[in-house]
Amino acid sequence: MDLWFSEYHTPDVRLSFRVDQQLCSLQSDFQRIDVFTSPELGRILALDGFVMLTEKDEFIYHEMLVHVPMAVHPNVRDVLVIGGGDGGILRELKAYPEIERVDLVEIDEEVIEVCKKHLPFTACGYDHPRLHVHAEDGLKFIRHCENAYDLIIVDSTDPFGPGEGLFTREFYGNCDRALRDDGIMVNQHESPFYKNDAIAMQRAHKRIVESFKISRVYQAHIPTYPSGHWLFGFASKKYHPITDLSAKDWKAREINTRYYNTNLHRGAFALPVYVQELLENVENVDETTDLNANRAPNTEA
């Protein structure tokens, strides 16, 4: 049987996956949720027709969002995960037994249910022993938090649809308030390659720069995401992602990863020229912004 699922990366570019089986298809209050199996990539989760993860390459995304900040911040006790209903972030966080509390805030309860049923390789994260799950709008949840977290991981969908509010200045500002004085926020930062993704990426960067003292961007290769070239944001009140990297301590933990290592950590912050330029274009902070006197530019590394 020749059944194909296509995701449009732009109106004129698409990536197609041969589908073996469709395991689930439903419409939640927020979005359409589909799970397929694919001969090449294993299980695929799609929201509103956009691939969120595939079994084959999800490890890259989840490792890069968790181990990068965890190798920098020496003392993470309280973690907030916004989005991330598949559980992949939680799975990676299980490698750090010193974490005392994880709050996961996922707007769509049905995503959690679907993942628990069909994506055991990420949903295994839900057995995290110190996990609290909140089915709520992330923007609303964080409005009520102050000085409460060491690390915030924003594992959002794209900046259109239910994830829209997680790319806004009000959200990043609220994250800044919710973090302790040495807190770190990492976020899914879209791709620099196709035009509309690049615009979304720039807007997010501009809003983060306005809200955090240190704001850097790093990258990874995620084959099934549009263009395969994906960015992450590292925003911080105190720690620098490279000079404060504790490579020795992290290696001593002997965590089994397949993508992340501390050499790659340093390299991931070295960006192509065109990406540097896209970021610099939006880093000119205007006089209305008050927080960025010591902001480190992305070209420094």
Binding site: D137, L139, I142, R143, T168, R169, E170, G173, R177, T288
Partner: protein, 482 residues
């Protein structure tokens, strides 16, 4: 109670039938269903261009309707509980003007609150009617003008027993209603008509949770902005008439200034929006009220902001309140409403309806989603965290009672001279000065300029309000009577 079948939309249906005939156009508009301007067609969409057609037998004629437009008018009248209804394609401005000119001839007196939209005073210039202003009530805490006190209306009626009509905002921009039913009874017992500027109350008749609509209260005419809460295209509007008004005479007055090429995009949008309100209005506005209440509760829990609602009701100048309106007092943040309005747009990508000296108004409708409300609330919370300051030096009252020296018409058409605003104290203004929005004149033609008004204009200018109305685009000079 509606008696007609509101699943019908005669104008929209006629357009659909007409396009199926594939009639070859050798008439205007010259773009010929979009074929003549590819760029415009790509920009607006082929369907939109194909519906932009001229009046013709199968589609009726707005100036003299006998078929589908007349049927659509009857449906609109039925939906709003009116005796007759007119489709307006030049904004609620044209509906307000048609109301005033229908009720008043040159030299007739009309009783009205001073916090009206400029379109009402424009209507006085066109008609030559003489305004008898009733100062609105003021809420000291919020600094906003309210509705008219019943006693003040009674007093105006006794002092001006020959006035032809009373015009009432139902509601004000902020959602404040006067006691319209009592005003109607009072006016009718003195032989005066009641005209309602219902630009911000289109939705009233469609939900029991909302204040009385003008037609429900027995008003004689109402100008209804369907394009606001009714959901039709910008510039489209209804003029409604009660049983004592000769509808066909009103049409003659509308035709004095209304285009003879009424846009079928606007007409069909009115028709389909009337259908939607008639069928679904109750559910829609209950949902909007609920969202507004959620937002008010969240905003009030941030601290310092005051999102006001029915607790302002005082039985008179706030007889009722439209709970779909989300108005927030920002004075305790130390920011003028217009400053919050600018920060929301420039830093948070949120456009709200307007901000004035002490308040902002976010316009909520059926198109809003809960997640957008979360953004607004979170942004307000952030603005407080980042910008809160002392409120020292802030003006907090936005209504200044006018000194009327001449009628708007006499002043507007008088010999005039331009002087710098700062040097205009003691002169009689010959044009408008207002912040837009909300478009309520600070000065109207015929009113005395005072030091207090000049200080107010300079203050709102400094805070970033968009001032309009003068011939001078920069609003640095003002025309005064010679």
């Amino acid at each position: 109670m509606m008696r007609l079948d509101h699943n019908r939309a005669p104008i929209a249906e006629a357009l659909t039938d007409f396009s199926a005939l594939r009639v070859v156009p050798f008439d205007v508009p010259g773009h010929k269903r979009g074929h003549g301007n590819r760029e415009l067609t790509d920009f607006l969409g082929a369907k939109c261009m194909s519906l932009d057609v001229n009046s013709m037998k199968p589609l009726d004629n707005l100036c003299h309707p006998v078929s589908v437009i007349r049927e659509a008018e009857e449906l609109a009248a039925d939906a709003f509980g009116a005796s007759s209804a007119f489709f307006m394609v030049n904004g609620t401005t044209s509906a307000v003007q048609a109301m005033v000119i229908s009720a008043c001839q040159a030299g007739d007196q009309i009783i009205l609150p001073r916090n009206v939209h400029r379109s009402t005073i424009n209507a006085l210039i066109l008609s030559g009617a003489i305004p008898v202003y009733v100062n609105p009530g003021i809420n000291q805490r919020l600094g906003i003008p309210l509705g008219m006190a019943l006693e003040d209306v009674k007093d105006a009626i006794l002092r001006y027993p020959n006035a032809k009509a009373i015009l009432v905002n139902n509601p004000t921009y902020y959602g404040v209603c006067s006691n319209l039913k009592a005003i109607v009874e009072l006016a009718h017992s003195h032989g005066m008509m009641v005209l309602a500027d219902e630009a911000h109350g289109t939705h009233f008749g469609f939900s029991e949770l909302l204040p009385l609509s003008a037609m429900q209260a027995g008003a004689d005419m109402a100008a209804v902005s369907m394009h606001k809460s009714g959901g039709s295209l910008t510039q489209s509007s209804f003029l409604l008439c009660g049983p004592k008004v000769a509808g066909e005479h009103v049409r003659q007055i509308i035709n004095l200034t209304q285009t003879t090429s009424g846009s079928y995009l606007l007409l069909s949008s009115l028709d389909l929006s009337r259908k939607n309100l008639a069928l679904n209005g109750g559910t829609i506005f209950a949902k909007v009220s609920e969202m507004a209440q959620y937002a008010r509760d969240e905003i009030n829990s941030i601290g310092d902001y005051y999102a006001f609602s029915k607790e302002c009701i005082n039985g008179d100048t706030v007889f009722d309140f439209d709970t779909t309106k989300l108005s927030v007092n920002t004075m305790d943040i130390g920011l003028a409403g217009v400053e919050v309005y600018d920060i929301l747009r420039d830093e948070y990508d949120i456009q709200i309806e307007f901000g004035d000296v002490g308040n902002i108004l976010a316009y909520l409708s059926v198109g809003d989603r809960p997640r957008d409300i979360e953004r607004l609330v979170s942004s307000l919370s952030e603005i407080r965290r980042r910008h809160k300051r002392s409120r020292a030096g802030m003006l907090n009252q936005e209504y200044i009672a006018p000194t009327v020296c001449h009628t708007p018409r006499d002043a507007f058409f008088s010999e005039k001279t331009s002087v710098p605003i700062d040097h205009s104290a003691g002169r009689v203004c010959a044009e408008f000065v207002m912040c837009y929005p909300p478009g309520i004149p600070i000065l109207a033609p015929g009113e005395m300029v005072t030091r207090e008004i000049i200080d107010y204009i300079n203050y709102v200018k400094k805070k970033g309000s968009f001032l309009t109305g003068t011939e001078d685009p920069k609003v640095g000079s003002i025309n005064v009577m010679k």
